[in-house]
Symmetry: C2
Subunit: 155 residues, 2 copies
DNA sequence: TTTGAAAAGCTTGATAT
DNA sequence: ATATCAAGCTTTTCAAA
């Protein structure tokens, strides 16, 4: 496999997963490498696709999206031709933050950000009206967020 | 208290939500602002807590975590005193990437990254053995990830 | 692979509008 | 609020090991 991460890579990734703005000099001081060695490793990890992006994380509430819903969706499996259209629909909807195809009773799980319940209702009405293969969905409102992110535990 | 984001702030945030490494000069060119005005706004958004972090996003598979599970957990509500211990347990577990407290049949929804099924099984065995208030849980394996992130749609 | 140093580029802070 | 510019940092490049 193309990507063998050594112990230094893992330490490096652990740091930039938390803070991508830390100067290479400080990262190097923390892991015992010169700034240029840190930069070279970062470049390699970016080029190799281990680091896919460096992004700003917003406080959703401060940005005007205080509600998060978790939505289980069941689709009609007899109509696989509609699936890719549904996937494109999901890709287009900015309020859908996460979407997985899953095993089990339902077929998709979505995480949706919303300004208010009306906003969310409108989205779900468009969901069903624009996707004929939606059989049913169930909404769970999040009452609290304990953790949010995609950080991977590199020991 | 609600942060007022003007049109320029929203454009700015839209950009850095995608790419936090873009130089202020390029951001400014895109939204019609000088580099220092961009920096001033970014500083204000960071200080005001609208931007909570700037982080590197990893390819979980490349980093050795090819599996993602979605776990619904039901806890014994008669024992609220065990809840905060459970929350601390979640906070400590690096493989738990996301965790919400939700309405509905189950009480928590977790997103868990795993190296393999044994790894995941071991985590869930520790979950039940170390948290006496876990009544049941249901695992859904993700077969595909359509979208992942916490990006908020500004405008 | 690594370091170290110079060049280039970016950010920050002062000043002025 | 904003832009311009200079000073200070950070990143990048390259030679050498």
């Amino acid at each position: 496999m193309p990507h063998d991460l050594d112990r230094i890579d893992r330490k490096l990734l652990q740091i930039v997963q938390e803070n991508a703005r830390l100067p290479a000099e400080k990262i190097g001081a923390a892991i015992g490498l010169s700034p240029s060695a840190v930069q070279r490793r970062l470049a390699r990890l970016r080029d190799g696709g281990v680091i896919t992006a460096e992004v700003a994380v917003l406080d959703a509430k401060a940005a005007g999206f205080p509600l998060t819903m978790i939505v289980d969706i069941e689709v009609e499996r007899e109509r696989p031709e509609l699936l890719s259209a549904f996937k494109r629909w999901i890709a287009r909807e900015g309020a859908i933050q996460e979407a997985w195809y899953v095993t089990g009773d339902s077929d998709f799980v979505l995480v949706v950000a919303a300004r208010d319940v009306e906003d969310y209702d409108a989205l779900m009405q468009r969901l069903v009206s624009e996707n004929p293969n939606i059989r049913r969905f169930r909404t769970r409102v999040t009452l609290g967020t304990l953790k949010r992110g995609a950080t991977v535990p590199l020991e």
